[in-house]
Amino acid sequence: MKSRREFLKEAATGAVLLGSSAAAEKLAFAGMLEPHVAAGKSKVVIARDASLHGAGAQPDEQRVLNLLDKAMAAYTGRDKPLEAWKSIIPADILAGKTIGLKVNGLGGRGISTHAALTLAIAERLQQAGVRAGNILVWERDARSLAACGMTVNTDASRVRCYGNDVGDYEDQPVQCGATQIRLAKILTRECAMVINLPILKDHEMAGVTFSMKNMYGVVDRPFLLHANNCNPGVADLNTIPAVRAKVWFTIGDAISSVYDGGPGFRPERLWYPNALVVGEDRVALDHTAWQMIERQRATAGVQSLEAVGRRPDYIATAADTAHRLGTNDPGRIRLVEV
């Protein structure tokens, strides 16, 4: 059997496959109103495998792939992995457009999106018909990608992998709340869709970093959005049309996490949820992530984020009528744990 890395080296040339009209509608409506809010409850799946890590520091690749399949099946209601993927990715994107996988390597090796997850998603996308070169694993720069266990590759015959240091930023800034930022061209020009692959972490300022906060990696000077515990910076950034329209599906890495002292690697605060968190409502995802962090802090005897002055208020801001990015109302979140 081929290893995952061998598989990815091959240029898959899959046939054009069916896509989801519902997913296409999501793209069409994005920027106007989040369909997840309008449609009622937002579904968030937490899929777990307690044996994911085994004895080693890195998770078992096959178990990660199996967990991904389990999460996708629970989210889509389709047991066959490829059918699950085809129900998420619009047909025209499957057929020939670029899909970005936005990983997070900010915290350095030890607390970055796991390569096993990134590669498992790339494998399933290729099997669903996406050409290898139309998959672009992406972060801020080569160092961040290396932290995720990825190597820069611009050869379009294989899965591509490079950062904004290669792809560059738009010359023209865009307004983001009260400040101006420049967006990564990988987002604005290269990718038709971005699958968001954040890693769950405590954050020194934001409180929690997960789905929405991972978009700080798509701007040239993210520190401009740090004021007031990143509120409303995170929400403002996610309302920018290119972000809102293209980044609507998250497969969050909660394989390992830091529940305090983040966003950098703090091994003394490391914990293993051994989970993936999947959904389309970025606010509901972040609310769920926040609760996971709080539960672990309580278990470890650490004060709540509110008690230490780091409650992630940007989540509520993202749900308000000015941003309408999703829901943070637990009564409107359908949490499915498998």
């Binding site: 300022m205 700080y216 966003p263 950098g264 690697f265 091994p267 003394e268």
Partner: protein, 157 residues
């Protein structure tokens, strides 16, 4: 701007009282038994620190960080670690970071002016310097190996 310095030219100037002191805080390969320096030294000025630790940088800036040097290390070809040396404006800044980072579970260790050790990390301060050493794996010998490296860094400050 970020400077990627070679081992030969990575020099920092830190002010200690009214004396100017030129320091290369990161030990070369072999300077500490078993430890190899496995990357170039990267130096970040305060205004660029976000490029290295975005999200964490502000607390160091608030404490008066002047510059940061970092390098990867490898112990006996098995254990990977990273060493960060933060040069603060004064010893109060280094003390502030060390104390704010102690949220329980650490052992006090005799390195520099004050130090804390966990199973996979050591943090200590000496004068205006704040040093954090983090290993990516926990092995039976990790703690002692990190302490040895910490003493190696301390001797250069």
């Amino acid at each position: 701007m970020v400077a990627v310095a070679t081992a030969a030219i990575a020099l920092m100037t830190a002010s200690a009282g009214c004396k100017k002191k030129t320091v290369e805080p990161l030990p070369p390969s072999g300077a500490v038994a078993g430890w190899e320096k496995s990357s170039d030294t990267r130096v970040y000025e305060a205004k660029d620190l976000w490029q290295y630790i975005d999200g964490d940088a502000e607390q160091y800036i608030a404490a008066g960080v002047v510059s940061t040097s970092t390098s990867d290390y490898k112990y006996q070809n098995q254990l990977d670690a990273v060493v960060d040396v933060y040069t603060m404006g004064d010893s109060a800044g280094a003390r502030k970071i060390l104390e704010s980072g102690n949220s329980g579970g650490a052992k006090n260790v005799q390195v520099g002016d004050a130090g804390l050790a966990y199973e996979q990390s050591v943090i200590f301060r000496k004068g205006p310097y704040l040093v954090r050493i983090v290993a990516y794996d926990a092995t039976p010998g990790t703690e002692q190996a990190l302490l040895a490296l910490a003493h190696g860094v301390e001797a250069r400050l």
